[in-house]
Amino acid sequence: MAVITYRQALHDTLAEEMRRDPSVVLLGEEIGLFEGSYKITAGLLKEFGPDRVMDTPIAEEGFVGAAIGAAMLGLRPVVEIMTVNFSLLAIDQMVNHAAKIHYMFGGQSRVPMVLRTPEGGGQQLAATHSQNFSAWYAYVPGLKVVAPATPADARGLLKASIRDDDPVVFLENLALYNTKGEVPGLGGNSTSERQPPPDDVVPIGTAAVMKQGSDLTLLAYSRMSVVALEVARRLEQEQGISIEVIDVRSLRPLDRPTLIESVKKTSRCVVIEEDWYSYGVGAELVATIQEGAFDYLDAPIKRVAQAEVPLPYAKVMEQAALPKAQNLVESIKATLDASGYRARTTR
């Protein structure tokens, strides 16, 4: 077991899957010679050559559609879109074709492709380069959508996504690339061709319990799962509050039973996401808990999300809009107070 970054986990997994299966090809802007805007694909052109690591012109609809068509004929393209914001130029191809082809043609064709792209704010990239569109993709039947929070899940879910015969939208987050974590099966010599342990594929459609707890359930995905885990550990250590943290990680399909069972146990729930407040994944999570665990709830479910503005450039303004640990702490406390909770130990 090695401790590596989320970036390294993505890089090593791509390389490993390309070595395993020659039908895996990469397409994207600046992924070859330039080695990727965020260096996920560094060195891959050198190892696999231009036929498998294809630099594309700036034509998102064209090359995403081409990846879908290539997948119909048996390749396994992994497309990198530089940031999720640019994927809007290709969303027609994902929604109207990738998501429909298997169903609409009566199961005669499959689309084994992955669209990898980073979301997220906090880098002072301003309104058009800091967005999250998890909900837009997760809304669409026919797509699978994952948003890993840890290097281990980045690896496990990327493997599952590449091996899956359906189109998968693989949502990364800019602020996660440098985060570190333990990754089974990786580390040491990254070019090693040894077989990794068989259990390192993370099944799409399953949530992960990051930390067990009994007083309150935190639901999160992508970068906010990391924030949620930090907050939960801190509150437990400092105030004795036992918080269960669930990393949703698969937005479609959504592992509703795991979320509901947790809240049945804790009777309290707070949802945190980096996306805008209204109409998002968070709203879906709240609805799920309300439907499946209403009788168990001791307080209304609270939501922490991004302020609903185009994200401003100025640092102080951007930070004011983004959800932070402190917002989560306050929401947890409000939820506990609303249910008459008293911590077992207080300072």
């Binding site: 995403v64 081409a66 068509g69 169903y103 043609f105 009566g106 005669q108 399909p253 039973p257």
Partner: protein, 322 residues
């Protein structure tokens, strides 16, 4: 061509009788493009089309029965009734789908060409589209990619002069659509779409160039549709004079005349052909009528190719987590 003509006339009739729902676009008047295009390809080549594709499906060798059954929304249809008129598909005949988002099929066909190149195969992709499609971004992005990557793809515009009610001249700054090829440094060819032999030969030349030299071609096949944009279009934007003129260019009558002139076909043989075709079309309707409707219990049957935990399976009003 006669089969497509009579199939489409019957389709219009069945639509009026509410056997067929949704949108329905006919190839009436475009039969020479359907047959010529299919005849210029090898059976192992791939075809992507737009939503006006019944004739191409039949010309590709799909039996009229499952095509009509698809229009009827039956389990015996080419897509088991899940696709309908605009989404015909046959893996076996390598008809890789009718696509109903204008221009949507062009990047897909381009990617199919990429897969062929990557796998070192010898097949060619033909991508059919309408005239108005040449104004959309996907068209330009795809032609650039195909030329840049040297992909074996032939882009075929079936130019019937109108995108719904908008004429080519009203929608495109360049009315000679094949001239758009010059922006990508690939050949652009204008073809008379009312002569099936001319269409076949032109397609074959472009397809073989794609196969042997990896040079894509843009083809502007000029044709006419004898009816409105779709079955329900009253066609008020085209003058009686224009319609009179295009009726005189009917490709089916033209081929029949030519075959008679060349002594290949006489009136008796033509009559016999009519009888055979009528029987075939009637059989298609009978097959479609007899084919069962899809079972609503199979609503989620084709949701995913790879099963994963927690796939949606709830009907309206049911709880999705149980």
């Amino acid at each position: 061509m006669l089969l497509i003509r009579r199939f489409e006339e019957k389709t219009a009739e069945m639509y009026q009788r509410a056997k067929i729902g949704g949108y329905c676009h006919l190839n009436l008047g475009e039969e020479a493009t359907c047959v010529g295009l299919a005849a210029g390809m090898r059976p192992t080549d791939y075809l992507f089309t737009n939503y006006r594709e019944h004739g191409y499906a039949i010309a590709r060798g799909i039996e009229p029965e499952p095509v009509m059954a698809e229009l009827f929304g039956r389990e015996g249809g080419v897509a088991h009734g899940r696709g309908g008129s605009m989404h015909l598909f046959s893996a076996e005949k390598r008809l890789m789908g009718g696509y109903a988002i204008v221009g949507g099929q062009i990047p897909l066909a381009t990617g199919a060409g990429l897969a062929i190149r990557r796998k070192g195969e010898n097949d060619v992709v033909v991508c059919q589209m309408g005239d108005a499609t040449t104004n959309i971004g996907a068209f330009h992005e795809s032609l650039n990619l195909a030329a840049l990557w040297k992909l074996p793809v032939v882009y075929v515009i079936i130019n019937n002069g109108f995108g719904m009610g908008t004429s080519v001249e009203a929608g495109s700054s360049v009315a000679a659509l094949h001239e758009k090829a010059c922006a990508y440094g690939i050949p652009g060819v204008e073809v008379d779409g009312n002569d099936v032999i001319i269409v076949r030969d032109a397609i074959r030349e472009a397809v073989e160039r794609a196969r042997s030299e990896r040079i894509p071609t843009l083809m502007n096949i000029k044709s006419y549709r004898l009816r409105g944009h779709s079955v329900v279009d009253p066609d008020r934007y085209r003058s009686e004079q224009y319609l009179q003129r295009i009726r005189g260019l009917d490709p089916v009558a033209r081929l029949a005349d030519q075959l008679k002139r060349d002594g290949i076909l006489d009136d008796e043989a033509l009559e016999q052909l009519e009888t055979e075709v009528e029987r075939e079309v009637d059989a298609a309707v009978e097959f479609a009528d007899d084919s069962p409707e899809p079972d609503p219990k199979k609503l989620f049957e084709f949701s995913y190719a790879t099963e994963v935990p927690n796939q949606p399976s709830a009907l309206p009003g049911q709880d999705p987590w149980r």
